[in-house]
Symmetry: D2
Subunit: 352 residues, 4 copies
């Protein structure tokens, strides 16, 4: 039984960590912190949890966190870096859901996250495992510091990893056109996140310099064995949860459909959470955010465009589960030796 503390538990990611871990048979949640809501019942901030826990939020502090075996940090970027070194030194296992330990290059934080200085803990950066379970499963075993990937990065990387690994990427950077729901903006949104403004929307944001580009390129470069660059443009669409990414990849030589299946299966054949959705029949023949909601599942698909030597790839995930809390628990399960899907076995609910 692992004692777990969730730091930053009042946001959406924190709420999902609570929901998932309350259903995890190897975990005891010993604390959930929130500066703003300390002393308040957790279910008053996360009304879905009413009746499932009598936990109250506590003031966040290193001391509180040190009482746990494992700490999940669901803090804003730039905050986790203040917590990790001390926790790590004390031997507490840390699963950091911020970006603070995702990038291996300390200077990348200056470029992509506008930090005034390079990352202050370059050694820890190297020790941190990039917690994409399907691509770093071996490194995760026993890991003490895990940087849980970003939500849009997760969909983008898993979708393109087979192409990167099997040498399909050409010199033309793949275009990744992403669509994301409103929960990505968090539980303390600004005026444009109000229902009246966020409904009936299709609009781009940060169309040429989104932060997740850095980790997507880092991972795909690693897999491809050569520098990979990505043209990434996200769009807000009128859903709460979900990310859909479409990869438009110009290739030198178009693979066969059989090859494509082979590449995806080679990478993901043993994964409990990845479904290749490319069907000839039925009401859903490609990935669709509708059919992964509430779960850690990744639906991947593709189509070949022989007219233009283009491979089109698709990924659908739930941004709060597979894009954050669920993937963190999956990484935690691997690190701690639990079954990889403990707490994560839920079947998607549809229609929703």
């Amino acid at each position: 039984m692992k004692k777990v503390c969730i730091v930053g538990a009042s946001g959406f990611t924190g709420g999902e960590l609570l929901r998932i871990l309350l259903q995890h048979r190897g975990v005891e949640i010993v604390c959930a912190t929130s500066r703003r809501f300390k002393g308040e019942y957790v279910y008053r901030v996360h009304p879905n949890l009413r009746g499932f826990t009598q936990l109250k939020f506590v003031e966040p502090s290193i001391d509180v966190a040190l009482k746990a075996d494992v700490v999940f940090l669901a803090l804003p970027h730039g905050e986790s870096v203040k917590w990790v070194p001390k926790l790590y030194e004390s031997g507490v296992a840390v699963f950091d859901l911020s970006a603070d330990f995702r990038l291996k290059d300390p200077n990348a934080y200056v470029e992509w996250y506008k930090w005034p200085q390079p990352h202050p803990y370059p050694d820890l950066l190297q020790k941190a495992v990039y917690g994409q379970p399907e691509l770093h499963r071996d490194e995760l075993v026993g890991a003490k510091l895990v940087a849980v990937p970003g939500c849009m990065a997760t969909a983008s990387i898993l979708m393109l990893a087979p192409l990167a690994k099997f040498g399909l990427l050409s010199d033309t950077p793949p275009v990744v056109d992403a669509k994301i729901g409103s929960s990505g903006a968090g539980a303390e949104g600004s005026v444009v996140d109000l229902h009246s403004f966020r409904t009936y929307v299709v609009r781009p944001y940060e169309p040429v310099h989104h932060r997740h580009i850095a980790e997507i390129e880092q991972e795909l470069t690693r897999l491809a064995g050569r520098k990979v660059r990505i043209a990434f443009t996200p769009h807000a669409v009128d859903i709460v949860r979900g990310i859909f990414t479409t990869g438009h990849v110009y290739v030198e030589k178009l693979p066969s459909e059989t090859d494509m299946w082979r590449y995806y299966r080679a990478l993901y054949g043993d994964s409990k959470f990845i479904r290749i959705v490319k069907d000839r029949l039925g009401i859903s023949r490609y990935p669709n955010v509708k059919y992964v909601l509430g779960t850690n599942i990744v639906d991947l698909g593709f189509e070949l465009d022989p007219r233009l030597n283009r491979v089109v790839t698709f990924a659908a995930i739930d941004n709060l589960v597979r894009g954050a809390a669920g993937q963190a628990v999956q990484a935690f399960n691997i690190a701690m030796g639990f079954p990889e899907d403990e707490g994560l076995r839920q079947i998607p609910i549809a229609p929703l």
Copy 2:
């Protein structure tokens, strides 16, 4: 391990029965029937189930059903009545999700369901248990024929039962104003159920003679010990799942808030699925469909209107789970001696 057959498994209710029973540790699904989709993989009709079952639909027939220990009938009204007698005689336990065995009065089917004749099996009507678990738990133990309540009836009855039982209902029939999502129309809708027509909608339907009135009045009359009538008007609103019912009840003498709590706790204090939501703090102080989605939970609440001697009551449920498949499985669990919440322990997912 019970062998279960789901007859009429291609609709929304059938899909939810599959989803829930695939997570039930005491059940083996031995058949899922669909005339239209026979031979097809279940996941091609219910894409959320992809990867969770390789089951195929089979042609519906009594013979196929007789191989099971338990049959769930997810058929249209007027169809179940053709299946039940033979199954019942053969000793198969039947959970009928249609209305065909809900009303005790054989003549009521002529009035409310436009049958040309009274119900042909009045004896079976008497044997059938009205499967509202919180109100018929004892009768359900060992039951062989269960009529699973209607979706809007479930919310209405559970919301008003304490008032009926504790003598609060006056001669003025309670008004029940209901709001329901599009999944209530089923997976084969008509033109008004198309997304373009069903979005951005608030509109009434069957505003004075909805069929669920019959079973609501039957149950409340039983609880009150005198004839109760209900003014029931449902409205389509722009969600897929969910029912919200608001009861406006003029009472002779306004109860205190403490009394109200007492009445609700007396009836539901031991229920695993009922939450009384009436809070002074937090972001959700009354029931809300948002916080029961995907689960068998019933959120009940109330408010007192001393100005008008009115008690306002609220209920929020997921129409496909608590209003159909989930309640059927709950009744099945009681009937068969499983833990009442087996297969139904999921925490609601929010935000969605």
Copy 3:
């Protein structure tokens, strides 16, 4: 050509006043005030107006407003009362969209709006015309101070007025169950108005003591010639615009359908904006918010419940147009001698 100033022009109501008045052939908009956005282009706050006006917001002040012939006050409750006396004395015509001059009884502001004192200008209260055009058309001609009705009050009153006027209301207070979109909360919402929290919602709020009750009862009492009380409960539903009200009215003696048509036509037969929607055929046989969006139209309907001696009434409006800006312009048109529908002739857009 009337010079018009819109005070409080950055909110939703202000934005709609701008949109409508930009299309009005008898109006020149001379100022649009916003404390928060002063100096900013109007289209940066109301992006739909981009290309239709180069107006900038100005600091709100009485002096600025006095340069206009007509002032529309789109201010919060309790603010308008600070502006009206001076504007009124100066001879500027005032259309006040707040509640500050709607209630004739000065003490009612203590009860319903929590003012510490009775209304400070009881004389002005008497002079103010309650600007429901269909019910106060004669008083509006030449009016200099108009209190534009509340959004939910508008739907409720218009729906029940025929019953009040023609003596159908019994001693049992009509139940008005309302459903409203998120734009009712305004452009500066709180956390529960965020898209993630406000989507997939059906929930009540202020279920027994909503402020609009006061004006609904005031108007219906006037029409009925005796004290009328209303049991009013609003619900948030998952749309941006729109109000739907359902009236459940127990009557002594059920009118015939012909009578009902006669009552509604007697009151509204000459109105350009009211449609009685009660059809035997077609895809929309009762009112529906979907078919009034963006317009000043009021769709009214009814159904008779002979089983319970109940008349069920329906109203659907766009809360920002007929519930605020559009009705204000309609009242302005009558007051100033413009065609009643000037600026308001738009046909509803569907499907949306």
Copy 4:
């Protein structure tokens, strides 16, 4: 006063033609045809039009259409071709909203529309004007046969036309990633268009061979003066109306922002309907479908990606207005000498 007949008036495009033309001061609608609804009031199929017209649908026939001066054909692909020759010969002006006269190459119909033979009227193909008003304004004057562009083609072409015309397109085909609402599927959808299935969706369809590619390439090739190819992938998103297209264009040499403004203004500076949305301030700095709803407006925008030599372009339109009925009326206005925006002056309604 032009006598207009709308053939195929019961669908969404037909409904929008009715709505717009009822507000057009130079038009008398003399017939609206519908095989399915002949004899029925138009407002029973288009409930928004209730109160605005007493027109009834009539059986479609050439004879009926010949009584008009102008015929709008809102028929399925492959149907218009049966009507056009006879109407054209009789001197009736035809605005065809299907694809039947959009492509100049008769063989293209075999490839893109699966016709068994090349187009039977190659001469008429040459005479037909491709009715994109901003790019074919001169040809439209006095035109007797106009092929109104496809909805996604309209957004894609207008967004990329400046780049094509000013020589920015490289050998790498631009990627056009499109997002579209459910109304694009028409008023007689299939099961996947039901609200329950079409809500909460992000999914691709026809990801490599959508029919609109043909006309997009035709137009951009004409503008560029050399063969242009397009990688086009549309996605269904959870809105009713609206198309958003994102162009990812790799260029040889990145233009300056000033150049980009210059190119767009050169093409569209005099257009009444095109807004370039690229702002430094305000709540909407790029195009967004939310702010064009119900109108003929096209919002265009762009962003430069110096990291990858990529120009990202954006277009937002209402698919039923600018993507169909509105653009048809705009072309009709030019052809007939009406003000280009007659009937189309509506300001977008927001928030919706």
